[in-house]
């Protein structure tokens, strides 16, 4: 082989020829266009297919408004509870060694692998009319299944691991030296968490909350099992979408769906911003000289 050829080869040794590259990028983009961009565009195009006024009117329907309200209420209760749990779980898993830790971590992930329909079913088995506690609650006039408490419980279940699983690896990577130092210097446990840990995990926390919130507002299967589909009362936004769609009110269904799609887009934007900031901070750390002058 002649030497110019040799040169070309050494340049190309860890990448592909331009044609192969273009081809691979092309196939990937076509696939993503068909499977991600088109469905997303469909939501907005269908929602606005009868004009903007019809769109706004569909969103102003009392049933739609009450669905939006219920979805917000559910998220406002479910997300903070899972946030407290996520911080507590991450603190004990990341900062201490104890037996059964890996089992605990696996159990926290469990709701992710359970089918949403099964998640709804387990609450029906406990709180339903024939369930374990169903008759007790009925005697005391408390409705859980086919009512709002059931919806909130099912939502908490399916969004259970989101914040914990963002925080656990983050806090494990950070170690506990900074907290130890704060304690030695006389800070209380709460002060240590508030002024040392919290600033360090801020971004992971926001990230986890955003993901948890997106799922809480969008959950369909589990909520559908426990809701009972009472119009204007126990319909969340995804359930309202289903009802409208099955009644052939396509524009109205897609109007409500478009709000959820917007929520998804905002979630993705915040997620990307977080990752961008995170990688910049990592790069800054890596750029520091190896021996840091303290």
């Amino acid at each position: 082989m002649s030497s110019p050829n040799q040169n070309m080869r050494s340049k190309a040794e860890t990448t592909e020829s331009p044609i192969v590259r273009l081809l691979l990028i092309g196939v990937a983009l076509v696939f993503l266009f068909l499977f991600l961009v088109l469905p997303l565009a469909t939501v907005f195009s269908e929602a606005l297919s009868k004009g903007f006024t019809t769109y706004l009117n569909a969103l102003g329907e009392p049933d739609a408004l009450s669905a939006i309200k219920l979805t917000l209420v559910t998220a406002v209760i479910a997300v903070p509870l899972n946030l407290i749990f996520g911080v507590a779980a991450a603190w004990c898993i990341a900062k201490y060694e104890f037996r059964g830790k890996s089992l605990l971590t696996t159990l926290i992930d469990l709701p992710f692998s359970v089918s949403p329909v099964v998640a709804g079913l387990i609450y029906v088995l406990i709180f339903g009319a024939q369930g374990w506690f169903g008759s007790w609650f009925e005697e005391h006039g408390i409705k859980i299944i086919f009512a709002i408490p059931g919806i909130i419980l099912a939502t908490i279940f399916v969004t259970f691991p989101f914040i914990a699983r963002e925080l656990i690896p983050l806090m494990q990577a950070q170690g506990s030296e900074e907290e130890q130092a704060a304690i030695v210097l006389g800070a209380s446990g709460w002060q240590t968490f508030r002024y040392v840990t919290l600033p360090n995990i801020k971004w992971g926390l926001i990230y986890g909350v955003i993901l948890c919130n997106a799922r809480a507002m969008g959950e369909f299967g589990a909520v559908s099992v426990v809701s009972g589909h009472i119009r204007g009362e126990t319909n969340t936004m995804p359930l309202q979408v289903e009802i409208l769609y099955n009644e052939y009110q396509s524009v109205a269904a897609f109007a409500v769906a478009s709000l959820l799609a917007l929520l998804a887009l905002v979630t993705l934007a915040i997620k990307s911003a977080f990752e961008w900031k995170h990688s910049r901070e990592m790069k800054k750390l890596a750029d520091l000289p190896p021996e840091r002058p303290y």
């Binding site: 040794e13 990937a28 089918s115 209380s188 507002m217 269904a253 979630t267 990307s272």
Partner: protein, 270 residues
């Protein structure tokens, strides 16, 4: 020793038991109240068995498609630069963020005979909505991010030196990929595949709109559970749910094992 261990562990165990463990054990206990014959009849009736075949078959095809295209997309995102790459990278997570019911109705609108895609495939004689084809498409949508997001970080960390060495030793680019790169990302690819598969088995929201839901033809297993619940057949619903749950546990263990394997591989390479 940092303070708060007992408090946080105590709360973690309390909340975990209250929300996850006790409700799940309710399902197991409910199963014990069902007689063996009743259980077998419920989980092996013709309609239920047809739903297993459909659910597992469609999930397997979808996960395989995701494995191939997910690997390709991860590769393109890590190795090449092109216009709009950052936006595309962000968009990969759309199926995680978009509520499943929204995905369901929008895929259906896209694929029916007057939809943007459906009108063309119909001319070719291929019907995509209201049959098992639609189920596979919905499951591909749902599972895509799993493969991309598990393979992407491993590809990013892969050492270029190994590839350079392979090329210096005379390997072609394809040989380098199949013998050097692929083995190092295989566990991650399998993990992503298993996650997409497990998710697809339990998926409900995105599928029911597009499936057509014909008994024996296009009725998925989670829908069977809903159907039994609507007829107040709690024993039957529980029996089928236990089958799904047993499968979920198996997949969870498999995925954990695969992740350990990947960590060992990358750990050994460092």
């Amino acid at each position: 020793m940092l303070p708060g261990f007992k408090l946080t562990l105590g709360f973690t165990l309390f909340y975990l038991s209250l929300i996850v463990l006790i409700p799940l054990s309710a399902l197991i206990f409910k199963t014990f109240s069902i007689s063996w014959d009743q259980f077998i009849t419920a989980v092996t009736s013709e309609r239920v068995v047809a739903s297993y075949k459909l659910t597992f078959g469609a999930s397997l095809i979808a996960a395989l498609v995701n494995a191939v295209f997910g690997l390709l997309i991860a590769w393109v995102l890590v190795r090449y630069d092109f216009f709009g790459k950052k936006i595309i990278d962000a968009l990969i997570d759309l199926p995680f963020a978009l509520p499943t019911a929204v995905a369901g109705i929008s895929l259906t609108a896209l694929l029916t005979s007057n939809g943007w895609v459906g009108q063309y495939t119909e001319k070719l004689g291929v019907q995509l909505a209201f049959n098992p084809n639609g189920i596979v498409i919905a499951l591909i949508f749902i599972g895509l991010p799993f493969v991309v997001r598990t393979v992407q970080p491993v590809l990013e960390d892969a050492e270029k030196e190994l590839e350079e060495a392979a090329t210096c030793l005379g390997a072609t680019r394809i040989q380098t990929f199949t013998r050097v790169i692929f083995p190092s990302i295989a566990p991650a690819l399998l993990t992503g595949f298993a996650m997409a598969f497990a998710r697809a088995i339990g998926e409900y929201g995105s599928v029911i709109f597009i499936a057509g839901n014909m008994p024996l033809v296009s009725e998925i297993t989670p829908l069977i559970i809903i159907g039994k619940l609507e007829q107040f057949d709690y024993a039957g619903a529980t029996s089928v749910a236990v089958v799904l749950l047993a499968f979920s546990f198996m997949m969870l263990l498999t995925i954990n094992a695969l992740q350990t394997w990947q960590r060992k591989l990358t750990g050994a390479a460092l």
